[in-house]
Symmetry: D2
Subunit: 474 residues, 4 copies
């Protein structure tokens, strides 16, 4: 047996709203600000007096809704939406969310951000009992568990189901009667509640979505909570009390948008502090600091400010890169034709450069950038990474490469420095990272999940346990 | 009666190559890096053994070449290409360049960046004599003048024609026998020559295009020059010796890409110096400096470095904005739904902010950004513009608004401050700008065209003379 | 409450092939010839060494596969495909077939042509036990029944399931090991087996698909049969012996392609005989016979030949009509602007016309055509319908309107004549139809299902029983 | 010297209207009914109070106007439109009509159906004098001649120009003040005037366009006429009196729509008479008559009626064939996979078949169809062509192959019979054709151009004279 579950349900963004006359359009703008969380597919389900309508498709939100009529026909004052991470691209529309389930006694729309660690075992059990799955994603699982629960109300069945799924998850469900939001017991993924000026409640993966739709921030969804929003307002319930924070550190490091605030900590500021800490921990004599656009610009400016070395624009990212872009042929690449990123000769020529990046995964991108800078005349390139080395995979919803591919899992820092061609290489320490983010939620990591750096996973790994141990992870 | 010429042939980007087996593809990548100079349309003409083929279309380059076969079928080792500025959008494909002209005795492809000031008069004369124009652009004019010239060779006819057109222009022409590049006698627009690793010469509007295709910089095209590139190499001729530099200051301020170098001055560096000068001329006590993304980030970081005030990410630009994007309805806008630009509440709330921008045209954008920051909680917003006030229109190829619309043409700085809702407002001085760019080419403005700021136009205005005087400019 | 099943799984076309190196492409051409059976959606699933890949979409086959790469990437030597009927257009991609089901122990692709009469009851039961359906179609039912069966092999489970579904069905299933084709016990829908020149077996809804792919006809699938095609060849099994023919008469009358042969009877020939019978039963003095293009041309030429009255082209159908076509506004329609069908004034002006059509459903189309002919100058229009009046709905897979909408269910022939504005109106008799088709399979109707004309349904109606009785059919 | 003019301006359709509030939409429907005259490109120019707007594109009309907004924005009560023939496909948008010309003193939109025989000489002269052409088509010539005329009014200049162009032409011109229609002195191409119910006049290539837009037929445009339609009504002028009819026989034979009437003769009826004549001239003992769909169906039914042999549907044309259709690979073709046309085995197997077609050009299509029928089991195939053999090219606007490619120009009928594999082959005689069309306009051919059959060209051939004589025609 072996259907592939892994790698298909990583990082996503969700948005929901209840009680706004133009619910689909607000959801569209909310999702748009979450586009960085997923570019493979997008969808919106709207609910008007119990009549569900949806539009979903592969690609960017703007592509999926390229025909404005697709949005116009989604009438209703309640909606949920989803953007999906760009994985290795089967182009399976079946996997694009939100899913709609129509039963003889109710309808449910469902959207999910995260990854379950016991999906394979649960799915095997359900199929064995005659259940049928239609997607490769593990999102359907929750619906099967709800329908199989012997509890007596939808809410009770839902709580029952939430206690059976393990791992990282932020769920949005919409029924005829209400909008439900729920977070796993460790709060791996961010999920926040806001309120529009007209009083409508919204739920979103990040606060940037609240800012974009003009909603004020109400509160973070807490681990183990089940929130219900309906015509009577908002109700906060818990499905478990066995919770403790393990917020994904990678959200702060590179995944979330810099203008978002997660559990009280602004992401851009956290990144600047990582850069500043890094300047303290790993100083360097140089002419300038350069960040890799766009994700490392905050950390780079933090490094520059703390070190007093000027911050310069030595790398330029082409802003017109789209998904369908024509690529240089191999011949042209060898002649030096470059697309996405250009080094600015006029800035770096003859200079000693500190290059700040947020992470090294396989090392190939970093090596390419170092070479780009040297070809443009930089005399020395000192690489500073504003996070500790990535050594372990993530099982809770971020598509970090497996151990075999993680360069820091298989090589010393000295080796990596040689591989990427840098004149020096330093990483931020784990303590430095924790202090820079400064969550202050207690525990050894102050509420962060640090497993990618130290292998200390906050949950049982179920399906993945064996894989991890036997090092056969692919 | 009078057909409208104005406003249709503003800013563009050109690229040409002679002697590369994959000429069209190299041109594609060169144009891609010049996309910021024009998003309305794009085209490439390729020349294989005298057989011309072309593909042109409306929209971004990637849209025009969305079907990869459109690029593949452009076989040939010589090509020129063009990107066209987004004017008010008639969507007239007729105006998309390069133009191809097929005569019984030769073929010519033609691309143009700039604006002529005597186009109307020349066109009237030619039509009066039975000539027929097919586009609204003034690019065709050169071709008519060439064909009507009584000189004996193509080159002689071309020089003859170049002496009749007045204003700002950078022309690329391709015939069976050679690639010609020519610049107006004041060098309003940038135009550079580079060389690919295989020896092929390229001509481009900006050096960023050379970097992207891996070409090394050879030299700037000088005012009054006519360059011929053919199988024998490169020849430098002049069609006039009555030249003096008046390089468009707006290229340095906001139009060119920061990684480009114009006449020896790197644009990003010039912008940083404008910001630093501004910090000297107009200091301010504040918690942070914020730039308007993306064009003002260099100036803002220059201001921050010079003033010692931290540079923060208080505004975020949505990177997934495309041309076909669905816009918020008026109702949603009033509820605070924002698209392109978001203010980061977590950064600016309760803070005194210095907002650095590169220019104020009509004032509406600046007013919106100030309001955005205040709604996000900024306690004070001090606006600093890294250029002098724009008071006069440009007639040489940049689509700056007319005097009626230019806010600085009709209001005092104090008035503008009130209109945009800023707590203070300062502009960089003309002297400050000239020193920051630091061209050192002599004359009162060291080789810059400063007419937008002071009305001192370096040429006779011909068609526009009356318009300017009578203030009836629309 | 009750979800709507009806009207979503009507008429379709299926095609399958096992053992051809270019299986997807052959399936494409096969489906293309079946496009008349369904224009709402299309899909192909291909199977290469147990690896299933699919492409599905809304619209015509050529639209779904507009990008040739979508077909190219479907590598494999086994495939099944489906075209789906254009119902009132929810645009639900979920309902586009073939469906793929991936289990821990096997994979199944499934395509269906027909309509079940006990789908609602079965679905209620399955959902009640925790099962989840993803589409509105009743096709999924079979898969649930297979997975819930306690039999021990896939084939035994499949037979078990086939005995539980009631109504009209032609199923194609593909697993890693074989291709299965099965027909309901009455053979409502056509299904044939053929063989490619390379030896590969194909299964298709109509023989026209065999002709198009160059396959020779092997045999019809018989009622109650389950056919297995695998690497060892073809095996014919039965899941029930309680069978008797009730082939849908509407297939002969208007649905099937004229070049197809169903159970030995060529459709075009049957239609010519219907026209000839009609000429005998309902003669008329006239100048010409005209058929409604395209479906009634065979019957009209049969009428003309039998009557000796010349057959003329008095109506022309515009061959460039596509789905996205711009329609005339109401104002233009009133001014006489016509799209799909034009009457030819030069042919019909001042003439007595016999208009032959294959059926009258609601009467609106017929009325429009009669008016068209009269506006073009026809002095008399005598309508002759080459089938008996449609009075009862079909529950076995053709989307005939409900009783409320069927004009012949609520009006006398005399009334209908007035409503459509004809000078006379006659229908073919039931006996005439049976003799014209000439199936010779015994029973009162010689093997035809005649229920649309006389209400004599060959099966228990289950879900629909009550509806039919209470006349509340909508 | 040698720009290629030939083959680029063949057959087209034109439509114009003056004085209807929805002029562009009416034009759209008119052009739609003329789509058979040109599928390469389409365009509409609308004129509102002297403001011209246009939309043009490559492909079918429905593709060009796929976005309904493209039609909606064409506001105005006057319009002309054009559909362009599918030639060998450079995909040059420059050649898609109508053309718009904007002068300082007027605007003109121009559409053209036909081919000039002195275009090359005229173009050479104009270019020599400094004129510039933008398209390869010869349509622009007229505009140059108008602008160069020394006459004093637009109308006088136009008449002057019409006297200089030679060959076949039907021109539509629209200015601020009026709509002009003009036909060459031999009336090679059809052109008719009609009137909408609201009084607006329309001009169209064929009467079928009048029928589709609900316009009544007013009169044919006569050779040598120049018609002006403006707010005062219609004025009929002549630019020459040296006229005599030479209506293109191919319009009757295969080009025009069967429901059109040209100079009083209905095309479908003419084709039936050709078939009947052919039955008289070339009888044959057979089981059935089959026509090649769709163009030969009228002739085939005429043959069947006259001979008393039943007309059967032995060939079926797939109605869903579009331009972008995926084609069978060579391998599949060899296995018998067929697309566009299928032979119906159930009809033709074991039968003697008379196959009626309208023409044989290169013989390849006919050979393929004969083989198709034989592979489907036809025992004998007797080919009957309802026109005389095509031996000479057309220079007046129909893209008939050159002499080298015309099979009848290089082979005897007996040879052709062998090449196409027919059991017998006969053509209609020239006399038979003239009698069947029955124009009764005097002269040796009763007003027809018969040059394709007998080389008797009604005009001096100018540019083509040498080519024809030297047999070097390519």
């Amino acid at each position: 047996m072996s259907y592939e579950i892994r790698g298909l349900n990583e990082e996503c963004g969700v948005f929901g709203i209840w009680g706004h006359p133009d619910a689909a359009r607000v959801t569209y703008f909310g999702l748009h600000s979450l586009q960085h969380r997923g570019q493979e597919g997008a969808g919106i389900v709207v609910n008007q007096d119990g009549h569900f309508q949806s539009h979903r498709g592969l690609g960017l939100l703007a592509d999926v809704f390229a025909n404005p009529n697709d949005l116009k026909r989604l009438n209703g004052n309640r909606a949920i939406g989803h953007v999906r991470y760009a994985t290795s691209g089967h182009g399976n529309l079946e996997n694009v969310q939100p899913f709609i389930f129509q039963f003889y006694d109710c309808q449910v729309a469902l959207a999910h951000n995260g990854n379950l660690v016991n999906a394979e075992a649960l799915r095997f059990q359900i199929e064995h009992e005659g259940g049928i799955f239609h997607s490769n994603s593990d999102t359907e699982l929750l619906m099967h568990l709800i329908r199989k629960s012997s509890a007596h109300s939808f809410e009770a069945k839902l709580k029952d189901a939430l206690n059976q799924v393990k791992g990282g998850f932020a769920y949005l469900l919409m029924t005829d009667k209400g909008l439900y939001a729920s977070l796993d017991p460790h709060a791996f993924r961010p999920l926040v509640i806001g309120q529009m000026r007209n009083g409508a409640y919204v739920v979103a993966s990040e606060t940037c979505a609240l800012d974009v739709v003009g909603a004020s921030f109400i509160r973070d969804v807490e681990p183990g909570e089940l929130i219900r929003i309906d015509d009577d307002g908002i109700s906060i319930m818990t499905y478990t009390t066995q919770t403790n924070y393990a917020i994904c550190a990678m959200e702060y490091i590179y995944f979330a948008r810099p203008d978002s605030t997660i559990k009280g900590v602004n992401v851009h500021r956290a990144r600047k502090r990582m850069g500043a800490k890094l300047a303290d921990e790993a100083p360097c004599q140089a002419d300038m600091v350069i960040g890799v656009p766009n994700s490392s610009l905050s950390a780079a400016s933090g490094y520059a400010e703390a070190s007093g070395i000027p911050y310069e624009m030595g790398l330029v990212k082409n802003q017109y890169i789209g998904r369908t872009f024509i690529q240089p042929t191999q011949e042209l690449r060898e002649e030096g034709v470059r697309m996405k990123l250009s080094a600015v000769r006029g800035v770096v020529e003859g200079k000693i450069v500190i290059l700040v990046d947020d992470s090294i995964v396989r090392g190939t991108t970093c090596r390419r950038i170092v070479r780009l800078l040297k070809e443009a005349g930089a005399s020395e390139v000192h690489v500073r990474i504003a996070a500790p080395p990535l050594k372990y995979p993530c099982f809770y919803g971020i598509d970090i490469q497996t151990k075999k591919e993680l360069i820091a899992s298989n090589h010393s820092i000295q080796d990596i420095q040689k591989i990427i061609g840098a004149d020096s290489l330093c990483f931020l320490s784990e303590t430095g990272l924790i202090e820079a983010i400064d969550l202050q939620l207690g525990g050894p990591y102050q509420g962060l999940c640090m497993s990618y750096f130290n292998g200390d996973y906050p949950t049982n790994l179920y399906d993945y346990q064996k894989t991890l141990t036997t090092h056969s992870l692919t």
